[in-house]
């Protein structure tokens, strides 16, 4: 707002009082799902007015032209595919007493580069899968439980995610699906999706993160710390 002195100083007292009453009116939240529907032009609110009709028409045009779905700077994690990849990788790991070697030394290379943490709490990095679009790191705990961390270049497509999963983790926007133990956050310019994360053991991830591992390791720790704080787990 532009500062122009105290505008109420030149107003009569009753005017300032009315202004104060109006200024105290609370913000009004849109109904759940409304913004997503408006952005995606879903027919939820369409049809009632010309604006709704225009929105539905625009949606049809967008879909027909395939516009707006291939923005490389925005990422909508494919949770079903990620879950399948996570489960497949977990099955390939074999029993806990026969730890799988990192994929072709890729994990070691990444560790050398300081990009990944070799250990997150009681979880050890056991496998790395790298494609042009996706980076998957698999961590396994002493009890054999594993989780995958997927990293994709680009910002999270928050609009494409169901609104009911949107949450706030320590002041950072996040999306979570407790049923799939999936959590999505944006760290810098990357979209990070954690699948199969045992939320009830999250506190154990807070130890043994290499001090020298900046970038992803520290960011992952920051994420985990945030999740811990969000869920009320002890941070130690």
């Amino acid at each position: 707002m532009t500062a122009s002195g105290d505008p109420r100083a030149s107003e009569e007292p009753w005017e300032a009082e009315i202004g104060a009453l109006l200024g105290a009116l609370p913000p009004v939240d849109p109904p759940d799902g409304f913004l997503a529907a408006a952005l995606n032009h879903r027919p939820l609110y369409a049809g009632r007015t010309m604006a709704g009709l225009l929105a539905a028409t625009a949606a049809a045009v967008v879909l027909a032209l395939g516009v707006g779905v291939s923005n490389p700077s925005v990422v909508l994690p494919e949770l079903d595919a990620m879950t399948q990849r996570h489960l497949a990788a977990q099955a390939d790991l074999g029993p806990r007493d026969e730890p799988a070697a990192p994929d072709g030394g890729a994990a070691e290379a990444e560790l050398t580069a300081g990009f990944l943490a070799s250990r997150l709490g009681g979880y050890e990095l056991v496998h790395v899968v790298e494609t042009d679009e996706l980076h998957q790191s698999i961590y396994r705990g002493r009890d054999g439980a594993a989780f995958s961390v997927f990293v994709e270049a680009g910002a999270v497509d928050w609009v494409g995610l169901p609104l009911e999963g949107l949450t706030d983790i320590g002041g950072t926007r996040a999306w979570s699906d407790p049923d799939r133990e999936a959590t999505i956050v944006q760290l810098g310019d990357e979209t990070v999706t954690i699948v199969g994360f045992p939320l009830d053991e999250i506190g154990t991830l807070l130890t043994d993160v290499p001090d020298e591992a900046r970038s992803f390791a520290d960011r992952a720790q920051e994420l985990v710390t945030s999740i811990v704080a969000h869920l009320g787990y002890p941070a130690g």
Binding site: M1, A16, A20, L21, G23, P27, P31, A38, A55, A58
Partner: protein, 186 residues
Amino acid sequence: MGVPESLAERERPHLSTADSTSVPTWEEVAYSHGRFLYSLAYRLCGNHHDAQDLVQEVLLRVRRGLATYKPGNFEGWLSRITTNTFLDRVRKQKRRPTVPLPEEPDRVIAGTPDLETEIAARDLPDHLQALLADLAPEYRAAVVLKDVIGFSYEEIAEQLDIPVGTVRSRIHRGRRRLRQALEPSS
């Protein structure tokens, strides 16, 4: 009575993603400014159905306008689009010309003085909103932008493309009508 924090100030964390030098994406506008837009739309329209229609149309206009938007007062730009879209819709619909305030608004609440105060405080936002909705749209827009959102007279004049004196006059008259409606004797 202290001067309350304006809606724009309360929404500052949501507005901070778009500074004066960056242009957010359409989606960022919706999620970072959605509450701000919806609050403004609701205060202007007075009901959720019209507010939803208004926000939908505003988002479409924002999407078109982002391509040519020049970094500056972003919330002012959003407010301008919202308010002008609202006034355009009112003019087209011509469904609500100036409506006089009710002669005797039903504000009599039975009970003890404390209970009366409590209930009155609880119901005040809705009551104020109802009174706002009874103002002529041009008065309502000026009052909402000034007192609810917190823009300056100059900013409102720029947004509505009218002289500052007209803005002051509309706000003064709008407040006076609200005062009359809130007076116990009315």
